[in-house]
Symmetry: C2
Subunit: 468 residues, 2 copies
C-alpha cells in the first residue's frame, strides 16, 4: 500500500492547500518537543502537504481522495498536543481545521461548534451572546482548538468542579466522518462518544461538537501561600470538597516552583513558599475566605480583583495544568515532566513528594472524580536521560501512582496502557485501510504488544541520514 501523493495533491489542488515547505513543516509539528524522548524520535517528521478545508463537504472530499490513493491523513487543530498526537508519523496529508471555526448554536446550557474554533475565541463569543462559558478548557485556552481538545485532551481548568472531559455529561454530541470509499457521516452520543473522543483522530474526523455550558462569572483568581507542602495540598483538597464553594481551578505548586519559574510572582515569594492557585466564583468569596481561615497558615498574596502588585501576573490558567512545565522550560530547557494520578489521598501525595525530592518539583491539579476527588500530578522533572526517566516512571508505578506517560506518542502508552476496545472496533469500521493518524494506536498495528519498552511504529518515516 504505497501512497500516491502526487495523484492526491492533483485531485485536491482546487482546495486551500499549503505547499510552502516551512509552512508544511510548521503544521506537521506540535508540542512533542516538551519531551526530550519524543524530541529525539519525532523531530524529523513532516507531512507531504497540508489542506485547510472550509466545510464538512471539503473534508469528505479530502478523505475520499486520500482513501483512493492510500494517503495517510492526520488532523491538526491548534497543534498544542504534547504527546506528538498531531505529528504525521508516515507523512501524507495534514488537515488543518483552522477555517472551520464557527459557533453554530448557543442554547441554555449548551453550544454547537465547529472543531477548528480556538477555545478562547469561541468562549468569548459564547460569553458575550449568552452569559455562559465552557465548563472546562486546557491551559492552552488561547491557542488550542475545541476539536483538538476533544480528540487529544483530557481535562483542565474547570475539572476541579466538573471532572474530566471523558466523564459522562461533559461532551453531548460529536458529528464524525469516516475514512472509507464513501465516507459516512455519523452522530455520536452516550457511550458512542468514547469511540472518537480522545482517540487522536485515529478512527474518524470530528466535524461538529455539542458541549454543555456553565454560567460565566468574573472568577476571582488568587495565589495563596503556605509554609508546608502538606498544608497547601490539604487546603486544595478541602476547597475542592466543599459542595457550596464554586471553584474552577485549584493547583498546588510546591516550593520553589513559584520562586524559580513564575517570573512575575517571584518578587512576592521566597524559595520556601508553597502556593495554591485558585479561581473562585465571586459570590463564593465569603465561603472561600471562611474556609481559608480554618487552615491557619494560608495567606492570600494575590487577588485578581484587588491587585496590589506592580504588575498583574496574567491569567491564572496560564500557570496551571501543562503551563507550569512550559514556564519551567523557559528557564531551563533540560527540565521535563510527568503526568501522574495519585487518587484522593493526601498522605500518598506527601509520600511521593518526600520520596522524589531532588528529582522533581511537585505540581498538582485537583479534580472532582466520582464520589470524591483526585490529585492529578504534573511534576516538573529535573534533567535526566531516557533510562533515568523510565526508572522514575517505574518507581512511581511501584508506589501505585498511575502514570500517563507523556514521553510516548501512542494512545495506549499515554493512557492506561491497554486497548480501548470501543476505539479499535470503531477503527475497523471507519478506517479499514488504517490511514487515519497511523502509528498512534498500537492495538491496530500490534495487538500483542506488551508495553515493556517504548513502542516503535514500523511505518514511521525513517530519519534522514545522520550528519553528525
Amino acid at each position: 500500500m504505497t501512497p500516491n501523493i502526487s495523484a492526491a495533491k492533483a485531485a485536491l489542488s482546487h482546495l486551500d492547500m499549503e505547499e510552502n515547505p516551512a509552512t508544511v513543516r510548521n503544521k506537521s509539528r506540535d508540542f512533542f518537543w516538551y519531551s526530550p524522548v519524543l524530541k529525539a524520535e519525532l523531530d524529523h517528521l513532516e507531512a507531504d502537504f497540508v489542506i485547510n478545508p472550509k466545510t464538512e463537504e471539503e473534508i469528505i472530499e479530502i478523505l475520499k481522495v486520500c482513501y483512493a490513493h492510500d494517503v495517510p491523513v492526520t488532523m491538526r487543530g491548534g497543534g498544542t498536543g504534547n504527546y506528538g498526537q498531531a505529528i504525521p508519523l508516515a507523512g501524507g496529508c495534514v488537515i488543518h481545521t483552522t477555517q472551520m471555526n464557527k459557533v453554530k448554536e448557543i442554547g441554555a446550557g449548551y453550544v454547537v461548534v465547529e472543531p477548528g474554533a480556538i477555545i478562547k475565541e469561541m468562549d468569548a463569543e459564547i460569553k458575550e451572546k449568552s452569559g455562559q462559558e465552557l465548563r472546562m478548557f486546557p491551559s492552552t485556552y488561547a491557542q488550542a482548538s475545541i476539536g483538538g481538545f476533544v480528540a487529544g485532551g483530557s481535562g483542565g481548568v474547570g475539572s476541579a468542579n466538573w471532572g474530566a472531559l471523558r466523564d459522562l455529561g461533559n461532551i453531548n454530541r460529536l458529528r464524525v466522518v469516516t475514512m472509507e470509499e464513501e465516507p459516512r457521516i455519523l452522530e455520536f452520543t452516550g457511550e458512542e462518544l468514547h469511540r472518537v473522543s480522545h482517540a487522536y483522530g485515529t478512527n474518524g474526523i470530528i466535524t461538529e461538537i455539542e458541549l454543555p455550558l456553565a454560567p460565566a462569572y468574573e472568577w476571582v483568581e488568587m495565589f495563596v501561600r503556605f509554609d508546608t507542602f502538606r498544608a497547601a495540598t490539604e487546603f486544595s483538597g478541602a476547597l475542592t470538597s466543599e459542595p457550596g464553594i464554586l471553584i474552577k481551578l485549584a493547583s498546588v505548586y510546591a516550593a520553589p516552583i513559584a520562586h524559580s519559574f513564575f517570573q512575575r510572582v517571584k518578587p512576592y515569594v521566597t524559595e520556601n513558599d508553597h502556593l495554591v492557585g485558585v479561581m473562585v466564583a465571586p459570590h463564593n468569596m465569603d465561603g472561600f475566605m471562611t474556609l481559608l481561615g480554618r487552615h491557619d497558615d494560608g495567606d492570600v498574596i494575590y487577588r485578581s480583583d484587588d491587585l496590589q502588585w506592580a504588575r498583574s501576573p496574567g491569567p491564572m490558567y496560564e500557570f496551571g495544568w501543562n503551563h507550569t512545565t512550559l514556564r519551567a522550560l523557559k528557564f531551563n530547557k533540560g527540565l521535563t515532566y510527568l503526568q501522574v494520578r495519585y487518587g484522593g489521598d493526601v498522605d500518598k501525595v506527601v509520600e511521593a513528594y518526600e520520596t522524589f525530592k531532588g528529582k522533581l518539583h511537585m505540581h498538582l491539579e485537583v479534580m472532582r472524580e466520582g464520589n470524591g476527588l483526585s490529585f492529578a500530578g504534573l511534576p516538573i522533572v529535573e534533567p535526566m536521560n531516557k533510562d533515568e526517566l523510565d526508572q522514575l516512571v517505574a518507581d512511581h508505578e511501584a508506589m501505585e501512582c498511575m502514570i500517563f506517560n507523556p514521553h510516548r506518542y501512542t494512545l495506549e502508552e499515554g493512557g492506561r496502557q491497554s486497548t480501548d476496545k470501543r476505539q479499535i472496533d470503531f477503527k475497523r469500521e471507519a478506517d479499514p485501510k488504517g490511514l487515519l493518524n497511523p502509528g498512534k494506536m498500537i492495538a491496530w498495528d500490534e495487538p500483542d504488544f506488551d508495553y515493556a519498552d517504548m513502542y516503535s511504529y514500523k511505518g514511521m518515516r525513517p530519519k534522514p541520514e545522520a550528519t553528525e
Copy 2:
C-alpha cells in the same frame, strides 16, 4: 419576669396587629402535628398577639417594646416548620414576616432579599429578571419563607449538588437585629453566619439575607423504576457522584411508597416497584441516560418533558424531602417519620432497610457532602406510640445512624444533641433577657441537661384543664 402583654399591645397598637383569636391561633401553629409526640405536647399553645411588620424599623420597635415589657417574641415566616420551631411556648408576641418580602437586589450569582419572601415567589422573580434561581429550597417551596428556611431549615431540593444549607458558601450574609434595650443591627458573614442560621430565631431576628444563585434551567423531572431497593439506591448514589451530570434532586422511594401514597403515580407502578425521583439539567440528559444504561434494570416511567401519563404528577419537589411523609399522612394519619443520616455507604443503607422492614418505609435523599456524598433518610414510620418510637430511634443509634429527632421541639434534640457554643454565646449578647423563642434552646435554660429523655421546657404555658 412577668410579661406585661397589655402594655406591649398598647404601645404597638399603631402597627398591623392581629387580635382575631382564630388568626392568632393559626399563626401560632406550624407543622408540629406531623409528629404525634409534638402534637400531644404543643397543641394547646398560642401567642397573645401577632404583628405583621413592614420594615426593619418596625421590627426594632416591636423588639424594644417587648423587651421593656418582658414579652417573649417568636418569629414566623411560612409556618411550615415540622419541629414546632415557630410555636410560642410561653405565649407573647408572634412576628409574622409576611409583609417583608421584597427582592432587593439581584446580581451575577447572588440575591439580596427580605426574610418574609415566599421562596417560590422570589425564585420566580429572580428567574424572570436574571435567568438564575436559588441553589436549594425546601420541598415547602410554595409556602415557606426564605427567612424561615435559613432560621429553621437544613437543605432540600438542590442539596444533591450544593450540599446542606449550613455548608460554606450557601449563605453569604445575614442582617440581624438583637433584642436588647437598644436593639443593634449586625451584619454577619463567614463563621458568624452560624450564630443565627438554623437557630430558630432564638438569638436574633434576621431582616435581610444574601444568598448565592445558580443558573436556572428547565430541569427534566423523572421517575425511574427499579426492581430492588439496592439497585435504586446504588443508581441514586452513582448519579450524585458524576461530576459532569448536573442534577438538582435524587430521591429514593422504597416499595411500596409510590404505589401506596403517590396517587397520580399509582396507575404506573406495582407494590414491588422502587422509584428514584430526579431533576436533571436538560443539557445533561445524554449523560444521564448513558449512566442509566449502565445500571441495567432501571426504566424511566415518567419524564416531565415527554408526558405519556394521563395527568402530570405535579412538580417533582413535592414528592421529595418532607413531602413524602406529607403524602403518606394523607392516606393514614397514624403514620409518622424519622430523619436519619446514614453517610455514604450503600451497604449500611440496605442493612437499615432490611433491619427495619415492617416498621418503616425507606425514603432517601442523596446530598453532596464534603469529599463524597451522604444518604439522608426520611423514612415513613408505621403507627407506633412514643415508647416504640424512642426504641426505634435507639435502634438506629445502635447501628450508628445519626438521628435528627423530629419528635422534639428544641434545637439540640432536633440536631446533634449538643450545645452549639456559637449560638448560645451570641444569645447571651443579643437576647440577655432570654425573650426570643423561649424554650427552644436547652443550653440557655438547663446547660446540664443530659438528653436521656425528652426535654420539657418549664416556662411552657400549661395545658388548660383536661376535660376528658
